[in-house]
Every structure is written in structure tokens, then in C-alpha cells.
Symmetry: D2
Subunit: 282 residues, 4 copies
């Protein structure tokens, strides 16, 4: 598409990645996918409300922690198996695919029943045994960057999955550890074009963990889209102040809507359709 004001032929700012099917929708290719939901699933009401709100605002997939990895063993570790029925009900209601983190090879079979894709957290990017097991099953794997993983180590970690036979790996930049103390992590958006030049796999960005600061999520979401990312992973909670974990980096419904409004404009500027619920279903 050429805009009337373009003085020279427009070279698209993003490199098109391979499209990876995700339930009724997909990640990569031309479309842009927003995955949204709470850090942790706390109850049916909390997850259902959030899922419906984000679907209406334009999210195309759901996220929500079932088994949470927490630094301290006494912190809230997720509902675990008790969340399975909640996930099934909400996925049915909304029609949206579900992504959640797996932390142990022994959870893969059970979680596979309720998930459309597995997430590997930053702390497990180097857990090669887990990666190899995920390579031996068919569902896509969203592979977060390790807290201080070199970009080339991240590319190599993806190979642990693909070499076992599963081509469906999606990278997710979630911020790296730097000296800066004002933000929880330093979101490295240059990872997006760097990876896309070296791999055909899609790249998402998680501005929630990537900054750890609520007010930085909207601008960094727009920036990620402009940098060529294939989607976002955003934490949304009905009442962030009451969240069982990481509420300081969750958006409420109004902030999420407003972020999506800004995002739609950027996506239109870079000629990428948003993979909304209905688009995904078509």
C-alpha cells in the first residue's frame, strides 16, 4: 500500500515472519496479535471479566498464570489444577485461544488439555530439558528471553525446541536486567528487528514485565508495533491494586482500551491488520 504523501517507495518497516497457527487465530505473518489477561488466574469471575473486556477491546488471545514461578517459595504460586475448569469455561465463552506458562516437563500433558500454546518464562529459557520436551509435542511455544540472555543464546534456545520436531516457536522480548533501577527491566526493542533478520519465527513484546511500570506500557506497546513486532503480551486486571501478583504492572480495562486505540493507529501506519477475535474466527 502506498500513502499519497510517500516521497519514495515505502519499504515496509517490518520483516514478515512465518505464520504459526494458534487455535482459531495465528501469530506472525501479516497480522498483529494482542495476548492479554491477568498475571495469575485468581477466580472465575476475575478471569472471565478480564477475558471479555480484553476481547471486546481487540485482544485476540488470552494469557493467565496457572502455575506461577515466584522468587520466594512462600509467595502465591497460582491456583494450579484448580484453574483448569476456569480456563475451559472462559475459553468456551470467549472463543479465544489460551496461553499459559509451563514450569515442569511433567505438567505438559495435563496443561496441553486446556492450552493452545505453552509459555516458557524468562527463568526457564535455559531449562533445556523443558525445551526439548516441548519440542516433542505439537502446540506452539512462546519462548521468553532469559533475564540476561544474549540474543544469540535466545536464538540457540529456540533450536532446542525446533530440532525435536516442533516448528512453532514464538519469541517474546520481556526486558533484560540492566543497572537501571527506575524500571523493573530494560525493554530491549532492538531485539525485534535483530531476531527477525536472523530467524523466520515471530516476535512478541511484553511491555508489562518489560518495564514493570504501568504508565510505560502504552507508549512501549506502540513502540513495539512500530519496531516491527508481531504482537504484544499485556497484563490486564479488573482491579490492579488488588491483584495477587504484579498489580503495579497491570492495566485496568480503561487503560487497556486506550492502549488499543493508540495501537490501532500505529498498526494502520505500518499496514498490519489486528488479529481480533472475529478476524481470527473468519
Amino acid at each position: 500500500m502506498t500513502h499519497p504523501t510517500d516521497p519514495v517507495p515505502f519499504t515496509s518497516s517490518y520483516i514478515k515472519s512465518r505464520e504459526i497457527p494458534l487455535g482459531p487465530t495465528a501469530i506472525g505473518g501479516e497480522g498483529f496479535l494482542v495476548v492479554a489477561g491477568p498475571c495469575a488466574i485468581e477466580s472465575y469471575d476475575q478471569f472471565s471479566q478480564t477475558a471479555n473486556a480484553v476481547a471486546q477491546a481487540g485482544a485476540g488471545a488470552l494469557r493467565g498464570g496457572i502455575f506461577k514461578m515466584r522468587t520466594k517459595p512462600e509467595a502465591f504460586q497460582g491456583l494450579g489444577f484448580d484453574a483448569f475448569d476456569i480456563v475451559r469455561r472462559v475459553a468456551r465463552e470467549t472463543g479465544l485461544p489460551m496461553i499459559s506458562e509451563v514450569t515442569d516437563p511433567r505438567q505438559i500433558q495435563d496443561m496441553g488439555d486446556v492450552l493452545d500454546a505453552f509459555q516458557v518464562g524468562a527463568r526457564n529459557m535455559h531449562n533445556f530439558e523443558l525445551l526439548k520436551e516441548l519440542g516433542r509435542q505439537p502446540k506452539p511455544v512462546l519462548l521468553k528471553r532469559g533475564l540476561s540472555a544474549y540474543l544469540d543464546e535466545w536464538l540457540a534456545a529456540a533450536e532446542y525446541i525446533t530440532r525435536e520436531g516442533n516448528p512453532g516457536v514464538i519469541f517474546c522480548e520481556r526486558g533484560i536486567r540492566s543497572f537501571e533501577r527506575a524500571t523493573r527491566n530494560t525493554l530491549d526493542l532492538s531485539a525485534v528487528p535483530y531476531l527477525k533478520e536472523r530467524s523466520h519465527l515471530p516476535v512478541l513484546v511484553d511491555p508489562s514485565h518489560g518495564t514493570g511500570v504501568r504508565n510505560l506500557i502504552a507508549p512501549m506497546s506502540l513502540a513495539a508495533a512500530a519496531a516491527g513486532a508481531d504482537g504484544l503480551l499485556i497484563e490486564v486486571h479488573p482491579e490492579p491494586a488488588k491483584a495477587a501478583s504484579d498489580g503495579h504492572q497491570a492495566l485496568d480495562f480503561a487503560m487497556f482500551q486506550s492502549t488499543m486505540t493508540g495501537l490501532r493507529r500505529i498498526l494502520s501506519a505500518v499496514d498490519r491488520p489486528l488479529r481480533t477475535h472475529r478476524a481470527g474466527r473468519a
Copy 2:
């Protein structure tokens, strides 16, 4: 401005900063300014060609090193005073304002004759004697972030200038030192919204130093605009492979034009006019 497709009222993604006059144009406010030019001024031909090319493609100000700070004392240190006449001629020809780095309080008076704004490099962000001197003269100061400066230290460094009476400080994010070795620095775009919430001063982004990798400059330029930056500082060289310094991070004229095309679309999406030469002159 409301787009017909906006489902909810659009909250602008950027926080408007104070407008700081820069020769015939300005930095901050509504407009977006692209400052472009070579890492170092090498000759009249090189600088004139570059200045004309970037002006035509939409740059609104020129940059170019006169006195270069180099890690090794034997490296090319810039033309020094020999560059003054070149700068005068090219500024007259193009009508664009000129920004260059000052490294010593004793250079301020002389350089003030040919510059519209002073740049303080990353390695001098903590050179408080230099900052205080720049606070005692009237031209704007582009203050780059130190290699590993906390955002709050950077805000404090700006105060060294403003407390002496010069309100014209412009921040410039240029990447921080992180563990990552694939890029020269890690461009921290979250600095843009962070600073704008805490200060009324404009914020530019330098994707050339910020990544050190030519192919990452265009996507990070677009991302910076989407994150709410007030402008960019981009290195452009007629023949990057022959540049006297930092050629690997300079764009040639065609890449600069293509970057500007993508940038115009993002700026239109965030409702910001580009401060081009003519706009500046109006």
C-alpha cells in the same frame, strides 16, 4: 484529531513538552525534529552533500562532529577549528540550524559562533563543570544520557544547567551499556515516557549510537516516534564504508530517505507534524 476508526476517545500517546527555539526551528512542543548529519565533519564536500540530502529528505537540523571525543588518543579527533568555515558555509546554504558536541568549557565561546545548540556527549554527562558553564550561556544544550546513568541522575544533570539560568535543555537517549554484545548499546526507549512524566523538557533519541547497527536504525527510529519522542539524532554519511569514524552505524542517503518515509507515517498516526526545513522557516 479523531480517526473514524477510534472506538474510544484517543488519548495522545505522547506528553507535550516545552518548545525550545533552535535557530529558525524548535525542539519539543507538537512538532517532531530530525537532526541528521555525519558522525564527524571530514570536508566541505562531505558535509555539504550530506546536509543537502538530509534536508531534502525531511531533516530539520544538522549534526556533525567538530571536536570528537575518542576512546583512544590516536584515533581521528575531528577537524577542530578547521571545520568552522565549513559549518558556516553549509548552514548558510541549507538554512538549517547546527548542533555539535562541546567537550571543554574553554571551547564554548568559539563554538557558540557557529552553533545553534551545544551537544554534551554521554561521556560528559557527569562533567558538572562543563554543564555549569553551559548553563551560563543562552544557546540550547542537547544532553546525552551517560553510558550507565540512572534516569534520575540524568534528570539531576539537567538541573546543573537550568539552575545556572539556561532553561533550554533537551534530553537525548543514546543507549546504555548492558551485557548484550550483539548491539553496541541497548537503546532504552522507556526513558522517553519516563522523562516526559517527570520533566517538561523535550526528549530526542539517537538510534545510531543507541544500536550501533545500521539495519536497526530505521525500526528503532519509528519506535522512538511511537514512544513519544520529540525527535531523532541520526548519523548519515555519503559513503558509510569510507567514514572516518563509526561508519557501521551511519545510514547512506537512500536508507535515510526510506527511514523518513516510514517515520512520516508513524508521525501521522500520532498526530505530530514533522519540523522540516520549510516548516521551520515559516
Copy 3:
């Protein structure tokens, strides 16, 4: 013990930790233990030669990779089960206890047959499922610091083990990721006194991974002892240039001997006996 030249009563420079039994010897308490051996066990000859050389020079325990975690899936991954017989033979010959890395909860039972302690590598410090399983078996666990783990996260990771019932955790500082590119990692020796003030668990230091540079291993070994560490983990190989992995950070036998000579003098200065083979057996 008071030296005749001490002008004021000498407050020992180290904080005494709990003593954790390790086969015929122990880690922590008053004694200082050097654990040495190759990065990976490559053959009976290689491991036996190394074990005998380090035992003679003063090492009190053996290390050697059986299942190696490697960034790239095509790199040498260790001998695996084929190493078990080698380990048994060499342990019997030398009488030294054996430590090796475990990377999967499903390896624990088999490896427990040939090991006196399990090592958790830096890339698995946050693999909480693995830590919990190791907490449910009786052998000591040497817990390396994650590549960019906060000291307080490392303390919390140890709790994942101890809360399951296994009190035998030993910390091992192995360098953190920093911006510096001259060394593989930045060895953070301040971790030693920091942890010892906050925990009664012993702290070892790994100068091989901690620097990645052969010539830095001896001075950093002495420094670790002076900082109050309870022992060292050092890579030694008969012919470092031919090692299957990480040869650039392995000592040959002569360098190991010379390191031990310097170390003995520092240990004598801080009043700590070296837990050698015979001492261990007593």
C-alpha cells in the same frame, strides 16, 4: 590465634558457616575445600589423571560434567550415562567425593548412585521444580548463582531446597553478566561476605567460570579465600587446549599446583585449614 605482629585483637575476616558433610569430608565450618576437575568428563584416562593430580596438589573433592548444559544443541553434551562407571572407578581410586551437575529432576535418582553432591548450574538457579526435587533427597546441593540473579533471589532459591527438608545447600558464586567484554563474567566476590551475614550456609567461589580467563584464576582464587569463602570450584584439564569444552578457562596441572601454593599461604593468614584428602579421611 594471635599473630605476634597484630597491634589489635584480630577479628577473623570470615564468618563461620554451618559444616555440611560431603562424603568423607565437609564444606563449611573452619576448613576450606577445593573442588577440582575437568569441565566435562571425556574418558577414564582424562578424568583419572586429573583426579590424581588435583588430589596430590591439595584438592579435597572432584568435579566433572556428566550431562552438560550447552547453549547450542549441537555442542558436546557430556558422556551421560557412559560416564557413570568412570566416576565410580576414579572415586574409588582417589577416595575423593564427587560433585556433578544435574539438569533434570528425572536424573536425580540415577545420579545419586555415583555422586556425593548435586550441582545446580547458573542456568537452572530459577528452575524451582528441580530445586524442590533436590530438597526431597538427602545429598548436599551446590547452588550456583544465576547469570543475573540478585543476591536476595539467590538466598530465596536456596529456600526452595531447604523448605523441602534438605538443609545441605552450598552457594557458589560463579560470576555475573555485566557490560564488561574482556572477561566472560564479572566475579562478584562481595557476594561472599554478603551471603555469610545473611545465611549460615557455606559459600564457594568458581573463578574458572567467574572470569573465563586462565591467567585470572589464580589471583581470584586467593582473593576468594581472603574474602572469606569456604572453598573453590576450579576447572583443571590435562591438556586445556584439547578440552572438549571451555578449555580457555581450565588450568593445567602445573598452574593448579602453583595456585594451591599461593592459596595455602592465604589460608594460613586467615587461620583456615585446607581440607585435603587425608584431612578429609581422618
Copy 4:
């Protein structure tokens, strides 16, 4: 010197650097020099008391801030010229040489009257104009490592001084910025042997800034000596809790004495004499 218990010939753990004269004493060569004093000179009483206490405990030179570089312009900036008389009196009383930080080329001449060596702070390591000026005068320059300077950049910065004709440069490792938040900086002791292999210049260590935590200063002082450093720079204050700046990282007199006791033992183990006041005077 051979200890009776050395099983193999002892290769000294440190590389001998060139000896640089410092008033009545020297830095480098065989001797080990402890430079001690307050972060900032606050009054005659404070500086005199501290100087006498550290001299008695074994320090061989004094430090004390006159013009302080402070991140925030409203913080205490040192006594400035008012400190000159204090410095003169205390130097005369104790006979110890004095080192203090210079932050502006225009201070060099005046400060040269009262100082035996100039210190360049971490924030000015890249202030090449200042380095060049210091290269054109005869007194030694203690060059601190930049907050995130590569070791090779630091070596290059020293050349800015030596190329102008002053061979008297002394490196001082003072900790680098890392992700760790428990300490103010991460003291990189591997810098000591790294630099000494590549340069004949002496290397000091500053465990006060290097950790920012009082209880870590003694163990890191001993570690620095064991790693082969040529001396230490330690902050001491009569009443750290009342210090005008950085009291949390200053030792009181008793802690300094106890650190010196431990240090003497390590120095004896590595065969290095302490350059005390009397030794210096001899």
C-alpha cells in the same frame, strides 16, 4: 621468599608494577599503600582526627574531598578553597602525602599547591580534556575506572595522560554498575590482574565506593590485596553516621584498625611490605 610449607616453588601472586613516587612514599613496586580519609573534608577537627587515626593504624597517605562531584546540584559540594589551609596543616602534622579529586582543568594549578597527587573520579574518566591537562603537569594522577568503562577503555584513558608527558598514572578500581541492587556497585577485582598483565602502572582498589556497604569493606580489602593490588583507598570518618556524604560506606576508627590487622596478615602471606608512615619517611 620460600615458606617451609610450600610444596612447589612459589610464583608470586602479583605482578610487580612500576613504582611511582608520592611525596615521601610511593605507589607500586613491592610495597602496598593504604590511602585513607574522609569522603569530604568537613572541618579541621574532623580531618585532623581522621588523619592521625589512620596514620597510626598504618595508612601511608591521606584522601579527602575538597571539591565534591555530586549527582544533585543541591547536595554538599565540599569546602572548596576553604579546605586548602586545613589540608596544609594536617599534611604538615602527619607528614603524609595528600590525594584529592580534581573536577575541572582550571583547578589544577591551585590544587597542585596542596596536593601530592590528583584523583580523577569515575564520572570524569572520559573527560579527555581534563586528562590531557593532567598529563601536562608533573604530579601523579590516580585514575578511577568509569562507572561502566570497559577495561580496555580505561587503559586507553591512561594513555591520554601519559602521552602528554606524565608517566605517573595509578589505576583505581572502584566498582562498576551492574544489575545488582544489594550493593552500590559491583567491585570487579579481576580488573587488578587484568590490568597488571597489560600495563606496568600500579592498581589500587576502593572497596568503599566499590561496595557502598560498610561491612563489606574489610573482606574486600583483604581480597584486593590477595588479588595483587598495590594498595587501597578507604573512606574513614570519626562518626560515619554524621558524615556530610556517603557515611554508610565509611569505616569508623575501630573498624579501620581491624581491617588493617587483617590486611597485614594477607600482605605478609603475599610477601609485600606495607608502606606505612615511617617506612615512607625512611
